[in-house]
């Protein structure tokens, strides 16, 4: 018998089952991350081992959908990393201004906080009327929340600080209406955002865009998968288009490192070469 780590073997069989039955492909996600999430789900489910999870996933759709939620991390913020948005205003907006119409893709937009932040900036820069924001994710539940544009009032203090640190000069509370525990984002921000289900692993190019933001999504992928998704971004960008990654992500380990020029090294903003 070969010396095989049982949980790891069981995890790879579980991921295979999820893929074959539901089409969601987690097989090239970070192993340590997936293992941690699956061990947590197992503990919560009260099942004894991962093989039992596998058979439950195959026979119980509600359980499968819960597991998919557990595997997709939707943690996000408005104006997360204010320094990044500041650089976006300074280094990216001038490039966007040169286009008659502007297409932006938020890949892995989660519950939408980033896309609304972007809409605010475009509005302040007087560009929003000629902008379309494609905000995509493979998590339908997160997308539905994003579309509603309803967020917890308790977060607004932090978001206001983020907004101001990012160079925002307006009154942030003007961008939403409060209603007890919640706030709802202004209709004028929603109007040019197109929310769509798109899986970065299994779906392909759907539009040619001027700016792609994919922040804190690729960290969950292994190097091969990162490489593949970076190819998708490259193919979706116009020449001279701009790619923004999360503050700890880079193109260093991909085949496309040479095809971009750094606009802001620290904030991970890259321009596709002509």
């Amino acid at each position: 018998m070969r010396d095989i780590d049982m949980p790891e073997l069981e995890i790879s069989l579980l991921l295979e089952a999820v893929y074959q039955k539901y089409g969601y492909d987690f097989r090239q996600y970070s192993e340590a991350h997936i293992k941690r999430r699956i061990m947590n789900s197992k503990a919560m489910s009260g099942l004894e081992n991962i093989s039992q999870m596998q058979s439950k996933v195959l026979n119980d759709e509600a359980f499968a959908s819960k597991l998919l939620q557990d595997l997709s991390i939707t943690v996000t913020e408005m104006f997360r990393d204010p320094g990044f948005y500041k650089s976006l205003r300074e280094n990216v907006i001038p490039v966007l201004k040169t286009y008659p119409f502007i297409k932006i893709w938020h890949a892995g937009c989660s519950t939408g906080e980033e896309a609304y932040s972007m809409a605010i900036i475009m509005q302040e820069e007087g560009l929003y009327d000629r902008t379309t924001i494609y905000a995509t994710d493979f998590n339908q539940q997160a997308l539905s929340q994003a579309k509603e544009g309803i967020f917890s009032n308790s977060m607004m203090k932090e978001y206001t600080t983020n907004y101001q640190l990012s160079g925002g000069k307006e009154s942030f509370s003007g961008y939403y209406t409060s209603n007890y525990d919640n706030v709802i984002m202004n209709q004028s921000l929603k109007k040019n955002i197109v929310w769509a289900n798109h899986n970065l692993v299994t779906d392909s190019v759907f539009a040619e865009v001027h700016l792609i933001l994919c922040r804190n999504v690729l960290i969950y992928f292994d190097r091969n998968l990162q490489n593949k998704v970076q190819r998708l971004f490259y193919d979706s960008l116009v020449n001279g288009g701009i790619l923004c990654l999360g503050s700890k992500e880079s193109l260093r380990f991909t085949d496309l490192n040479e095809e971009y020029t750094e606009l802001d090294k620290k904030q991970r903003i890259f321009k596709k070469d002509y």
């Binding site: 192993e31 340590a32 960290i219 700890k248 880079s250």
Partner: protein
Amino acid sequence: MCYEAIVIGVSSGGMKAMKIMFSLLPENFSTPIIIVQHISAHSDNQWIKLLNDKSNLPIKETDEKEKIERGNVYIAPPNYHLLIEKDKTFSLTIDERVNYARPSIDVMFESAAEAYKNKLIGVILTGSNNDGTKGMKRIQECGGLTIVQDPATAESSYMPASVIAAMQVDYVLPLNGIIALLIKITQLQFHK
């Protein structure tokens, strides 16, 4: 026993402890060290520069997917969890906080335990919460060595005391003793 990595968890009072540690560890100390220090989400890496000034070893914030190399000291970046893959590379995530912390010591230690099994040394230093206790248990389960700073000598005793209360640790020592032990263990393997 040949140890391949040392993981350290440290919280309040950590800056002082780490300054001492890295001024005393010699330049030829080659076992990689991976540290989670609790810090604010918005802190810049100024404090790492400060640590480097007094250190004989190069100390750096980890990059995503970076390979763990001998002779280096790695620190988890603020506002991310740090995980270690079986192929000895780093992964970062922005999953929910664990024990109110991101980076969390437990998250890093548990993944390290699974990646290095019995080739790992886990160290808990000063701190005022119980992050790290579960991680140390996991390290022990996987056959690794566990070392805790003597709570009586730690600036904040809670974190080391929490580990000691939860399990039978291999060594409880003051900071200087921990440093001497790490040097001894790793030099033994050096001369083999």
